[in-house]
Amino acid sequence: MTVSDNSQAVPNSTAEAQSGAMARPGRFREFWSYFSENTGAVVGLVIFLAFILIAAFADVLAPHSPTEQFRQALLQPPVWQEGGTSEFLLGTDAIGRDLLSRLIHGARYSFFIGIIVVVIAAGSGVFIGLVAGFARGWVDTLIMRLMDILLAFPSLLLALVMVAILGPSLINAMIAIAIVLQPHYVRLTRAAVLQELPKDYVTSARVVGASRLRLMFVTVLPNCLAPIIVQAALSFSTAILDAAALGFLGLGAQPPTPEWGTMLADSREFVLRAWWVVTFPGLAILINVLAINLMGDGLRDALDPKLKRS
C-alpha cells in the first residue's frame, strides 16, 4: 500500500542521508548548474560579460579619444593590411578618428540603450498586462485594442514618427523604441496571466486571503516570468538594432557620438573604398545581438522549474 507514494521518496532519503551534512546548494549554484549545460548560452554570457567590461572600462581600454581627429591618418586600413599602423589597430574613419576607440566607447551606448529600453518597455508592459489580465471586462478590451493599434504599425516606422515628433536625439529614440516594444510585453503577460488565473493554486491563494496586489505580483507574476525573460533578452538586442537603425537614418544618436548605428551611417559612402569603416561596427552589432539572444535562450531554460529535473 505504501509502495508508490514512497517509491520516489526512498531514493531521495538515501541521497539525503549521504549529503545530509552538506548544506543545500544555494539558489545561484542551482541556477548555474542548469545554465552551464547549454554551451551556446555560456558562450553568449561570456561575450556579453566581455562587452560589459569593455563598456565599463572604455576610458582605460581605448587607445585614443573617440572624437579626436588624426588629420595625418584619414581612412587608414587596419594593422594587418598594407598601409596600416599599430597606432590604429582597426584603422581610422574618413576624418581620422580611431575606429577601435570608437567601437569601445560605442559599447557603452549600446548597453545604455538596451538596458533603459528594456526596463521601460518591460516594466510598463508587464504592469499593463497584469492589469489587463486581472481586470478583464472593458479595461482589458480597451488596453488590448490600444496595443493592437500600436502593433499594427511597422515598428520602425512608428519609432520614426515618434522621433520625428519628439525631435532626433538618443533619449527620444530610446523612448520611441520602448513604446514600440512594449505591446509585446503586454500581450505576453496578459496571455500568461489568463493561463495561470484559473489554476487551483491561485484560487487557494484567494481562499487564504491574498490581496489583489499580492496575487498579481507574488502569486501569478513569477509563474509568467519565463516568456517575459526571453522577450526581455530578445528585445535587448532588438533595442540595440532599432537604435542602430534610427542612428543610421540620422534620427538616433547624433554625430560625433560613437554609437554603432550612427558610425555605420557616417561611413556608408566609403563601403567600396574602405571596407573596415562599415564592417567593424556592423560586426560589433552582430556579435553583441547574437550573444544576447543565445544567453536569453539559456536563461529561459535555467529559470523555468518545469524544465528542471528533480
Binding site: M1, T2, V3, S4, D5, S7, Q8, A9, S13, E16, R24, K199, D200, Y201, T203, S204, A205, R206, V207, V208, G209, A210, S211, R214, T219, P222, N223, P305, K306, K308, S310
Partner: protein, 324 residues
C-alpha cells in the same frame, strides 16, 4: 452542546450566461435550494455525477463565490446573499474554513518552496507572527501530515501526487480551521495512495476534531469516510441521510442507480445494475418537473408536472414522489 459549524438554508448559486454578443442571457442554476448542517468531528459527503453542483457548493462554502440566495452560517458567522462580508468577517472566516483541491498538480504554486506555500496563509492572516515562529509552525505541520523536515526547502515538482496532496492538506490546516472542504481530494491519485491520504484525513479529523465537507463521485471512498451523505442531481439535493441508511436503503431512484454502478469486488454477487437512459440534461435548460424524470424508470405524469421538495424535517429525506 451545539457544535454545528455549517448551517445552510435554501442555499443557491445561479450564474448568468450570455450566449454570444446578441444572444439572450440564460441562468444556470448550478446550485438550488440546498439545506444541510455539519457538526464538528463529522463528515458530510456530497455525491453526484459531474456537473451536479458539487464543486459550486464547495466554492460557496469556502466563500470563493457569494451565494445567490439562501442563508449560510459558518462557524457562527452569517453569510447572506444580499450583503457582502466585511473584510474583518472574511478574515475570521478564512481561518475557520479551508479547502483542499482535487488536482495536487495544479493547487501548489510551482515557484514557491513547500515552506513558503505553508507559511503564506499565516503571513497573510497573522502578520504579527514572527518569521521564526512561522517556520516552526510550518515544520510541525509537515511532520503532522507525514512529510520529512527536509521537504521544507523543496519545490512542488519534486514530489509525487500523494505527497503533493499531503502538502495541500498541510496548507489548508495552517490556520487551524474547524471546517475543511475536500473537493474530490483523492480522485486524481492512484488507488494505493488514495487510501493513504484517506487514512491521513481520518487521523487528522480525530486529532483536530475537524468537520469535513467531503465532495466526491467515488461511492466506495464515501462509504469509507462519511457519516452523512447528500446526493445531488442537477444542482438539487435529491436525498440526504446517515451514510449507512443511504447506502443500505436508498430511497431515491437516482441514488439507487448510482449505487448499482459502483463495482463490487465479489464476482459471485449477482449484477443488478440499473442502466440509466440518456444524458445528464443541460443545466441551462432543465426538464420541467422533477429534474430526473427523463431518465427515471418510475416517472409518471406527476413528475413531469411539478418538482418534488425535500422534506427537511425527516431524518432521511428524499425529493421524490415515488420513493423506493
Amino acid at each position: 452542546m451545539d457544535n454545528t459549524l455549517i448551517e445552510a438554508r435554501g442555499l443557491s448559486r445561479h450564474y448568468d450566461v450570455s450566449s454570444g454578443l446578441f444572444g439572450k442571457t440564460a441562468t444556470v442554476k448550478a446550485l438550488s435550494n440546498a439545506s444541510f448542517s455539519l457538526q464538528a468531528g463529522r463528515t458530510l459527503a456530497v455525491v453526484g455525477e459531474s456537473g451536479c453542483g458539487k464543486s459550486t457548493l464547495a466554492r460557496v462554502v469556502t466563500m470563493i463565490e457569494q451565494p445567490s440566495s439562501g442563508e449560510l452560517t459558518l462557524d457562527g458567522h452569517h453569510i447572506r446573499s444580499d450583503e457582502p462580508l466585511t473584510a474583518a468577517q472574511q478574515a475570521d472566516l478564512r481561518a475557520s474554513v479551508q479547502i483542499v483541491f482535487q488536482d495536487p498538480f495544479g493547487s501548489l504554486n510551482p515557484r514557491q518552496t513547500i515552506g513558503r506555500i505553508l507559511e503564506e496563509p499565516v503571513l497573510i492572516n497573522r502578520p504579527q507572527v514572527s518569521r521564526a515562529e512561522r517556520e516552526q509552525q510550518a515544520r510541525e505541520m509537515l511532520a503532522m501530515v507525514g512529510l520529512r523536515p527536509e521537504h521544507y526547502d523543496r519545490y512542488p515538482h519534486m514530489f509525487s501526487g500523494g505527497q503533493r496532496q499531503r502538502i495541500a492538506v498541510a496548507r489548508a490546516l495552517m490556520l487551524d480551521p474547524r471546517i475543511l472542504v475536500l473537493d474530490e481530494p483523492v480522485s486524481a491519485l492512484d488507488l494505493s495512495i488514495q487510501s493513504q491520504i484517506l487514512n491521513l484525513l481520518v487521523e487528522l479529523q480525530e486529532r483536530l476534531n475537524l468537520a469535513y465537507l467531503f465532495i466526491s463521485h467515488d461511492l466506495s471512498v464515501v462509504r469509507h469516510m462519511a457519516d452523512d451523505v447528500m446526493v445531488m442531481y442537477l444542482g438539487r439535493v435529491v436525498e440526504k441521510g446517515a451514510a449507512s441508511e443511504v447506502f443500505d436503503t436508498p430511497r431515491h431512484p437516482y441514488t439507487r442507480a448510482l449505487l448499482s454502478a459502483t463495482p463490487v469486488a465479489d464476482p459471485t454477487r449477482e449484477q443488478t445494475r440499473i442502466r440509466l437512459e440518456g444524458e445528464l440534461p443541460s443545466p441551462l435548460n432543465p426538464p420541467a418537473g422533477c429534474a430526473f424524470n427523463p431518465r427515471c424508470w418510475k416517472a409518471e405524469e406527476r413528475c413531469r408536472q411539478s418538482a418534488p421538495e425535500l422534506d427537511t424535517q425527516e431524518a432521511h429525506p428524499v425529493a421524490c414522489y415515488f420513493p423506493l
